[in-house]
Symmetry: C2
Subunit: 584 residues, 2 copies
Amino acid sequence: DYQHVQVPFEITLWIMLASLAKIGFHLYNKLPSVVPESCLLIFVGLIMGGIIYGLNDKSPPVMDSDIFFLYLLPPIVLDAGYFMPSRPFFENIGTILLYAVVGTIWNVFGIGFSLYGICQVKAFRLQDVSLLHNLLFGSLIAAVDPVAVLAVFEEIHVNEKLHILVFGESLLNDAVTVVLYKLFRSFCEMPTIKTVDIFAGVGKFFVVGLGGVLVGLTFGMTAAFTTRFTKDIRVIEPLFVFLYSYLSYLTAEMFHLSGIVAIIACAMGMKRYVEANISLKSHTTVKYFMKMWSSVSDTLIFIFLGVSTIGENHEWNWPYICFTVIFCLVWRALGVLVLTFFVNRFHVNTITSKDQFIIAYGGLRGAICFSLVFLLPDFHRKKLFIAATTVVILFTVFIQGMTIRPLVDLLAVKRKRESAPTVGEQIHIRFLDHLLAGIEDISGHWGQYYWKDKLEYFNSKYLQKILLREYDQPKSSIVLLYEKLERKHAIELAEAGQLGHAPSHPSLLCSVFLCSNNDRTVIMDKKLEDTLNPDVLENIQEILARNLYRIRRTGPAYNRHTLPGETEPVEHAKEILILRHKSL
Amino acid sequence: DYQHVQVPFEITLWIMLASLAKIGFHLYNKLPSVVPESCLLIFVGLIMGGIIYGLNDKSPPVMDSDIFFLYLLPPIVLDAGYFMPSRPFFENIGTILLYAVVGTIWNVFGIGFSLYGICQVKAFRLQDVSLLHNLLFGSLIAAVDPVAVLAVFEEIHVNEKLHILVFGESLLNDAVTVVLYKLFRSFCEMPTIKTVDIFAGVGKFFVVGLGGVLVGLTFGMTAAFTTRFTKDIRVIEPLFVFLYSYLSYLTAEMFHLSGIVAIIACAMGMKRYVEANISLKSHTTVKYFMKMWSSVSDTLIFIFLGVSTIGENHEWNWPYICFTVIFCLVWRALGVLVLTFFVNRFHVNTITSKDQFIIAYGGLRGAICFSLVFLLPDFHRKKLFIAATTVVILFTVFIQGMTIRPLVDLLAVKRKRESAPTVGEQIHIRFLDHLLAGIEDISGHWGQYYWKDKLEYFNSKYLQKILLREYDQPKSSIVLLYEKLERKHAIELAEAGQLGHAPSHPSLLCSVFLCSNNDRTVIMDKKLEDTLNPDVLENIQEILARNLYRIRRTGPAYNRHTLPGETEPVEHAKEILILRHKSL
């Protein structure tokens, strides 16, 4: 009775195949270090497509655009948004938006118009492709694909800024792509185009992008609020993270807003509060499952891309296809050069020419273009567009994807630092943030730090009270880090069998004695402790604890949002100290 | 553009509603302690069904049987199988099978024939319901439902044996139900029934049940084997647990075998190996996600049950419906009494009359009956059967489900012990197992312990070598327990801020000094340690460690499967000791 179980059975088998393919690559350690996984997966897909084609004598099924947009894309974007490094993202948000909005428009019109120029050459026999169709094609081929970018850039480990520039662009250009694609598609079907339509199209950018952000943040805040009440049923906590972000995506799509932007806003908005509300195990589940899900989606997308390539959907026209590839490369390179020129004029921390090369070269196209081209209304040159899109995707993923790693090595592009920042560094960064916010405040300049500080104030004053379960004990990020390190250390000790009677590991970062309100920390090296006998040590600790308490009482921390008269910080410090004291 | 996102949007909304309903109940602490959650959820479903009915003036959609069997049931059964307490299950397997097979057949024929008797009474106007139709109805109404049983019994905490008897029966009777239901359904459509068909039906029991076990074990072993190779891609490890178990279910369903039995066999078979192969975080994800998924499925099932009840699918006939409820109760009670009489004759550890009452009273019906009755072929009395089934389900879930807890209190049924068994108890249980296996071996009786021991031998000799990644370091379950406790202790210490300078928690179970090969353990109470000064302590520990080593060298452990000449255990003990010694 195969009919009965067909749908879930085939889905499960596809996922299984994808996962097994993944395991297969990793059995040979050398392979994934030379060829990106995405290329290998497309290759598996090509082989499978070939087999299906050979056996059935008809084109294998192409990836359904609905399946792609409704089921495969959201997990990847959710994962990207949830694990987005928020600091570099917001530090470079201006540059990212410039690339994503202006850069994408530049590419769309550049590619569209120059392809129209090519179509005018009589020898190529392409005169029936109109300007609008070329622009429509440009709008779908211009957008850099987040899935392809992520797959390649996760393996080459370039520095954080470069990574976020390319990746952020690929995510945020979705709003522009959606607008332009839909605009040109409706223009194609309209008999005449009025000027007002064009202005309406421009206005739509803001609606689609900001609408997406709004929808995402609304769902994100609701998710955070919901997790306040899950204390008694821990088991369904992780569910809400997935449900609300998926709902935000679907709602945005429903109103023709940018679903990608919505889900990213939702994930980034809720992360902080959800993390504080749910239990540690729930959080592990959320993180792990998100990674797993996005990894499976990603694998399926590349395999399907390979499978869909095989078949009789293509119309081959050498000049059009070759010029498409060339124009994609040229216009992107030009766009990056021009935009970076302006960006560098307004920034101290400039983008080097090596970085610019990698940004231009890292403009990979992927499954989004592919799904969009299949969604085109039927017209006589659709197969040509499909062929050109397939070639561009394969070219960028295979040629650029495989050569980008050697190029990064060759150019000696700055890599990501291997080690995590130390506690000391973190404290200094935070201190500088406060300082710069203060300077901006005094100088009256409403810069990045000013807004960040205001947001933080709004957050602690209103949002946290509404969204967090245990607001009475707000923990600074450094206390959380300390707890995390202590826990990790404890597990390490336990695994080495040294618990209870072993001296503390001297190199351990968490040998930090914290009594922190506004992230002021007092560090006490545990190495000292090891050399002293227990009685003396206890004495010292008691004295220290008492003195620390006194220091805090006499001089409360400077805080831009609390006046010295307010008692809260003192009380809070007292509480921590009493707690700490008991444990000593 | 609601059309586009309708399907995933509505699914997500239903799940969201179910989860929010769950949170809602738990906000009022008193409610769930009086009324089982399943009742509350059905109640929510009834209200929603009423609203839909009121607004649309037509029956709300009933739960699709395909959705139930393909998507909602598997997660619950997987969860049940994966977390099945294997010891009580296998200890009582004979009794469970007796209840599940003979008991269910008894109920089917009992209910079927007596309802046929009722149909003969002219005053009831039911003479058109044939014997075969009554038997068909009996076959679907007789089976105890695992989802309903689990939902109620998880909340009342009866003793382990009683729980496994009712729950195991509800799981394993699936094979019988499947066979009888399909048999009677095909008999209904046949013009004449030959004797050979009846014999074929009896033979099918074994095929369906054992086939399910075989399919499940095959997939389980494959899953374990696959996780051997996931070391480099930890992120997709949890996926395999879900994929393979789901495939086992679908494959079994495809060949008309018992899917429930297959998925349970798969989960129980792979658990041990998968747990050893995958990382700790993957395992947390698997456990958590399984619980979450089954909890959501469970919630959805009860809500849908409520929604589906409302509407115009029912034909009301007082006598038939009342007698169905009465016969369900009476035949189950009789069946339990008779079967238990035989079980008690062959067992030392008998089932008390209180337990018998709870077993009979805990025979709840649920969504499986409901889905089966909708799957019936159309005939003129189908609506009567639907009405009777609905009433039986609501009666058992509401009346029996709500009164079972007070009854358990009233009868003072033995409860589950609150505390986990101590390490000492575990060692003794294991020791007795070995002893009994030895006695059975000598006396030539092939009992439970003999087979268990043989299986263990086969496992360590062949299966582990094939299925486990790190076979070189086989860890006995006690060493694993010790590690787990140490890790838990470490985290507790870290969270209390006592790491490094605090004395060990005296009540801690893991104050066990282990050098275990065949689970022989030496226990050293840490309380002693606390009263001694460190120098003396270290001395003692060194002496102890050395002596232990000597003891082991002079007298190697008795092991039924290794000869004294073999050096492996000695070497192994040496290794553990050296490791341990270093840490001291």
